[in-house]
Symmetry: C2
Subunit: 180 residues, 2 copies
DNA sequence: ACAACATCCATGACATGTCATATATTATCA
DNA sequence: TGATAATATATGACATGTCATGGATGTTGT
């Protein structure tokens, strides 16, 4: 995992390939915060990817299965409103799950544009691994942060989302908005 | 930006397409934290994309230009160690900048495998917009969070990165590691 | 009923994170 | 020195976030 930064560099490269002069104009604390958010997100995604590989699932696919488990059946647009990505219509994502046999679809009763997606038994079977994976990750996290830090960080991040569209998905997912 | 959630739903869909029953098994606060980090990252990236579009740059490309501005010349691997993405070798990313005329390359003096990348005058000219964009975003952020919240959140996020490889890039970028 | 608009979905394009692999070069060590 | 390992880079594959487009269907207002 960790690279070999501790190994002594053989002094052959001039200039050094990482520009090891102290950077001239440091980022502001805010810039650092932005990159921290990026870094934590990437790292977490890699953890998740690795753990979900056993189920042949990506993090995005696992998110869909989790959502469906709670609220199936859902249309594509209903699902899209719950996905944090809010990626318009998640056709490709859901189709990958249909192809893998985790999700199936029915026609909508009254709207011929829409389809309703739900978990197959196979899809439901993956829930165990998904939940186990999430618990494992949450175990890591709670070992690293105190309850108060978690609470405080959640609060700060919510403030950063204030007034944005993506906030709506968070609220729908986590219960602050019960209905549409 | 915001969608039409406030418009009354015409009661024709049965079941509702966003599964508007209260979700059964709420996520834990930790799950919510994970999705918050994802959501904030996505939203920030969209802001950045939008603002950088005027310069025909993506956020990733702008990050490369910023890094080069501080530490050019850099090899690909040196750059990779500073990028938060730590995406192995960022060939594609840098090549997109070479094609756009923002970055040029020289041969490395002693290592024939390596190339040294640096900003062209054109690349340096984009720095103004990039910095203005970052200041604008940081202005948003500091309007939303107090100094103490920023500090506290930074601290918590650093803890989440503890011991991971990606942390090394953060440290190199933000000065806690001066050398390789 | 008709027109205008909104919504649902599919699809293609682009960038890029991630991983695996291949090649060239360099470093290390017996 | 010669073999082995490490490193630098390029490239292809895959998934997916993001945006734009287009066709089908629904809704609304007249």
């Amino acid at each position: 995992m960790a690279d070999k930064d501790n190994a002594p560099m053989v002094a052959s490269l001039q200039p050094s390939e990482t520009g090891d002069q102290p950077p001239t104009g440091f980022g502001s604390p805010l810039q650092e915060l932005r990159y921290l958010i990026l870094a934590v997100q990437r790292e977490g995604n890699r953890w998740l990817s690795e753990m979900l590989r056993a189920a042949d699932l990506t993090p995005a696919q696992a998110e869909v299965i989790s959502i469906l488990a709670d609220r199936e059946p859902l249309t594509l647009s209903g699902l899209g409103k719950l996905l944090i990505c809010e990626t318009g219509s998640p056709s490709r994502l859901v189709n990958s799950l249909v192809q893998k046999g985790f999700v199936a679809q029915d026609n909508h009763q009254t709207d011929r544009r829409a389809k309703l997606f739900y978990l197959t038994p196979n899809g439901k079977a993956t829930l165990a691994l998904i939940h186990k994976t999430e618990e494992e990750i949450d175990g890591f996290l709670s070992a690293l942060l105190s309850d108060q830090e978690i609470k405080y960080t959640r609060s700060s991040l919510y403030k950063l989302l204030g007034g944005t569209a993506i906030e709506q998905a968070m609220l729908r997912r986590f219960g602050y908005i019960q209905n549409d």
